[in-house]
Symmetry: C2
Subunit: 317 residues, 2 copies
Amino acid sequence: MNSRAQDKAAGAGFCALADWGTSNFRLWLVDGNGNVLGKRQSDEGLLACADGRFANVLESHLSALGAAPDLPVVIAGMAGARTGWREAPYVETPASLDALYRQAVSPAGINRPVFILPGVCQRTTGPFDVMRGEETQLAGAVETGLSNGVFCLPGTHSKWVLLTDGRIAAFRTVMTGELFDLVSKQSILKHSIDQNQPFTADDPGFLGGVMEALADGFSLTAHLFSIRAAGLLGGDATSAAARLSGMLIGAEITGMKSFMPHNATVHLIGSSRLTALYGKALEIAGARSAVLDGDELVRKGLFAAAKALFLNSEKLK
Amino acid sequence: MNSRAQDKAAGAGFCALADWGTSNFRLWLVDGNGNVLGKRQSDEGLLACADGRFANVLESHLSALGAAPDLPVVIAGMAGARTGWREAPYVETPASLDALYRQAVSPAGINRPVFILPGVCQRTTGPFDVMRGEETQLAGAVETGLSNGVFCLPGTHSKWVLLTDGRIAAFRTVMTGELFDLVSKQSILKHSIDQNQPFTADDPGFLGGVMEALADGFSLTAHLFSIRAAGLLGGDATSAAARLSGMLIGAEITGMKSFMPHNATVHLIGSSRLTALYGKALEIAGARSAVLDGDELVRKGLFAAAKALFLNSEKLK
């Protein structure tokens, strides 16, 4: 540790870590071992800052945590998008996750060291694809010793990632969450779907939808309408929302078969609700799964970059 | 011909035929041979008549054609839906198309013989499904001698129908058109899709999308996002709208493989634009197609029902 880093670790923190997504902003003040000294969270994501408020938002939250004026900050996520604070160009697959910090960029208009980590893009290892933020969670997984495996991060745009020797070998974005929203709220199926009807991973409608989607010959566009028709014909008392969710998640798992070698454990990173649904669907598909803590992983990934930037590199000098 | 029918045929027409859909109303005045004596068309579909204007709309168009006050009318389509003029309960698959007239219903509140033909539903020959209107086009196909074959009626909700010995053996609704609209206009892909960019069946984007969807391992939800990523990465100069359309139509054809025995000709019924796109996609998939005139078919189907109702049955007495 150089003297500067030691000062931070002894005083009001070693550095700050931020996960700055499209809709959410999360900030942690950590000590030199990565222990959390303070935390902030708000809905000031990319969309709320697109008018150039990035520096102000960051400073206000740092100030609320009592961070020193020169405390360095490492940021992952959409703040590095073209429409964000400053573009951090994508690292291309196969992408080495312990080297994300090497392509970090520093935005202008702020009087402290700030580094935005790049996202990852895919041009040759599969269909064109991009991610921003998830790669830092995976860097965190590598920190915990998971350098190889299959990862699924369910959400509006689920990400599936193949990690090989600490690198993202290939990945895929699946629009499951967004399609669920569009189809359930805006297609003709909305007439058969009760938006307010909650369901769990054990709902017969969900289980049925997963099994339909896993069956040979399933085609999403050719099966969706049966949810509406079942409503009209009164032949299906199970939850239409649950069945739609099961169909879409089942279709996602079928579509990502090539990422799941025999006996692989799929590492799930996401909300407790989504990981429960995906865990059940994977079980039906005959795959094992294990849930990881996404909050912890993104912090570990950010902290690994911070250590590399602030302890081992010349960037701060 | 009984005397009543002869009067009609000799006077201002034998009967009137209406195709009354969700958004459109079409009416033909025909003679005893089915020849068209007059035609009306408007946007007074189900949605415009849901407040109970059905009788008024029908009478105003009949009056514009100079139809006699007791001229009988046969109607197909959404006018027979639960939310229509009067519900004409579905005939269940396998559904005999030359007997649609047997389950026709007559609405109240109008002083002339009016018959609404039923739709068709599927409970046991495949996933739950329903149609209203398309069955009458297929009845028209049977009239032209096409009693066996595969039919595809592309649209907002495409219908695929297996016709066996003049009966609908099984059918499927595929939400291709609606998904194209939702995904291109309201999902994240809208940022990469120029709504106003026209494309044809020969557009490289369309051909590429079809080929992607026909390839082994294709999964719609796992491939859609690559359209957005291609836009972000600047790696695809072809039309994103065309590629999306190709992907969705290709996925539809893959999903309906079970309806296409080896060497089958798919009979396409729809707009010239859609039948061109589907014809090209089917060609790429190695299937033959032939285009039929949907207007003519629905008229033939309605006229067959009219002859059965007004010449051979006791219903008018």
